[in-house]
Subunit: 392 residues, 2 copies
């Protein structure tokens, strides 16, 4: 009889609550506002068909063979040039292509977190980051914040942390966007404390009226002796099923991230990298991304109107100026997890907010996605939520 | 000034020697026998073109959206059915699709290895496995072996190890294939010791005259209370640039591997999974894989003949009955690493064997791939190697 013995870090791996919720809400007849998925209507299928055919016609041997762990050279060049337009100066040699930006989070955790070391995160923050970091056994420090983002003075509580993990643009789950002044204050405070920044930016392109301020990494730097690692993704502007993201990292860290990447999966599929490069190389995203923004803005407006109309007194939310999510704070006595079955019964679903908090709690919060349901469905689902909340 | 501090495990991440060698040997005019790459001539480009077009025409929304961490259902079913033909009984629910089988190794390490715990490996063994396991800080136990594989009695030295990692089919780097009786003896001894087996089988389909004996996992079991985890790959029978592999694991381990997979990259590209399923679902590999075997056998024969003709006395090798590699043991006074520049100067390249040994040493060994060079190139490169060795 074989004795399988799990590593201690495996205790920190847990089934995703959200996964379970998504399974429930795949039932027909449910309007799910629970998913963190982009709208499939935004996938540029024709461009991908053309690019895929071209790659398999013109460079099949290269696209289908083993490839460099760093990623496809021209795609790394493209990323470095794109980051430069955001004020983030780095050499293509500091760009690592990853299997979705989720893998970037895993590599960052693997290379920087020791058991018992501390990592500072927003509270709430992206659940997938907590899941990526957790098996490396950090202690999480929850940063205090307000509607504009984490408080610069809260960084003092993170002194000595391996890094502070921040999503300044239309954060998942709250949708909040950190303003320019707050960004500079956060970077200055982090620098004064010697605190490295890991900046995650999957949603930055999805702004509705004006682009967000420059990334934190633009002032903290990802160059030779930079203070930030920056993570980006093609999942929200092209398609997540391609699993393509990237990391830009200072030279103090890059070689170790690269070695961890090589150990993790040798390299991200060259096939996918070459297809995406073919799609975007001549400026495709300049025309495509505005169509996503326009679509999501209509849906955001539909949800804003529905919330105004249907939410009972005592519920609070902020209007997101980009991204995919509304974040609701319910009256303190309402537990969003307990309430979920009633909501599903009423024909809609959301994600309870508790899982996004590194220390749990905050049972009276929930996340709504406005990008996968139509405006009419959004109206219907939010009305149903309003009835369920009023009854509670 | 930010203080980046590396995790202790990052010390165990190292630049790959082989990577460096491959860079050197990409120079024009060099016939490289160093790579571990399959021949690009075997990539089924037409079938992939057709399947890719079909996926993007018929199921673009599903293929391009986020997907289940377990993998694409029909592909998991296919894998379970394929394993059954090898005597390996498991439910599709125990199959996890991975981003290449390299990722399977990383997930196994993450879930099973604690710092200071022991892992038993063949000596030499696959370098990528050493690299995947190393950051989880195990102590490696090198199993004694002979030309037929690791010795069953050597497993006693691995008592208490988290697992023993074995590649019974045409191993990388030695090319050796473990016989049926040896396999049963290894499984019996491992079971008696309570020692879990991690079996890696990237090359099993590449046999030349007769198929290898059933996998170790067929007798150890990957079922409910099985004693083995089994790793497979599409890299050698379709194309590595798609990064598609799989793990079959007992129910005691599967949920943790799945959670680790989700934390690592959410899921393997659904696009790639659906394309590969479209290619293989109607039996494509039954016709395709024999063409790879026939091609590689011709190349194997060319290398065998060239070695017989050109190697100076004192060099030893075994005829591989499948796979991609010859393994050479040189006279004890010759250091293959020191000799490499002279070989490159003479127009050929190989991989020195030392890196494949968990405890290093064995400087007088080297690996030759016979699958990426033509028979004529193989003859020429081996002749050059012979001259360099004779001069040493």
């Amino acid at each position: 009889m074989s004795r399988w013995q799990l590593a201690r870090r495996a205790e920190r791996l847990n089934p995703s609550t959200i996964r379970e919720i998504l399974k429930i809400t795949e039932r027909p007849g449910i309007v799910s506002l629970a998913g963190g998925l982009p709208s499939a209507d935004t996938f540029p299928v024709a461009a991908l068909q053309e690019a895929t055919a071209r790659v398999l016609r013109e460079q099949p041997r290269e696209a289908l063979q083993y490839a460099a762990s760093e990623g496809h050279g021209p795609l790394r060049d493209w990323v470095a040039a794109e980051l430069a337009t955001q004020g983030l100066r780095c050499d293509a040699a500091q760009v690592l292509i990853t299997t979705g930006s989720q893998q970037g989070l895993d590599l960052v955790g693997k290379v920087l977190i020791d058991p018992g070391s501390t990592v500072a995160v927003e509270s709430p923050t992206y659940l997938g980051a907590l899941q990526a970091f957790a098996p490396y056994e950090p202690e999480f420090i929850a940063l205090e914040g307000d509607d504009e983002g984490p408080l610069p003075e809260a960084l003092a509580s993170a002194r000595g942390a391996r890094f502070v993990y921040l999503l300044p643009n239309f954060q998942n789950p709250t949708g909040r966007c950190v303003g320019a002044a707050r960004r500079l204050a956060l970077v200055a405070r982090a620098a004064a404390l010697g605190l490295p920044i890991v900046e995650d930016n999957p949603y930055g392109d999805l702004w509705f009226d004006t682009p967000p301020p420059p990334p934190l990494a633009a002032s903290a730097g990802v160059g030779d002796d930079g203070g930030a690692i920056y993570l980006g993704s093609f999942s929200k502007v092209l398609a997540p099923g391609l699993r393509l993201g990237y990391v830009a990292a200072p030279k103090a860290i890059y070689p170790k991230l690269l070695q961890a990447k090589q150990a993790a999966d040798l390299h991200t599929p060259g096939f996918n990298q070459r297809i995406v490069f073919e799609v975007i190389k001549d400026g495709f995203l300049r025309d495509h991304v505005p169509t996503i923004r326009a679509r999501y803005k209509v849906q955001r407006d539909a949800m804003a109107a529905a919330l105004d109309k249907h939410m009972p007194p005592g519920c609070r939310w902020q209007l997101p100026v980009g991204g995919m999510f509304f974040w609701l704070t319910l009256p303190a006595h309402i537990d969003a997890t307990t309430l979920l079955p009633a909501a599903v019964e009423a024909g809609m679903a959301y994600v309870p907010g508790s899982a996004f908090f590194p220390q749990g709690g905050h049972a009276n919060t929930l996340r709504l996605s406005f990008v996968t349901a139509s405006p009419a469905q959004i109206g219907q689902a939010v009305a149903a939520l309003g009835r369920v909340l009023a009854a509670a």
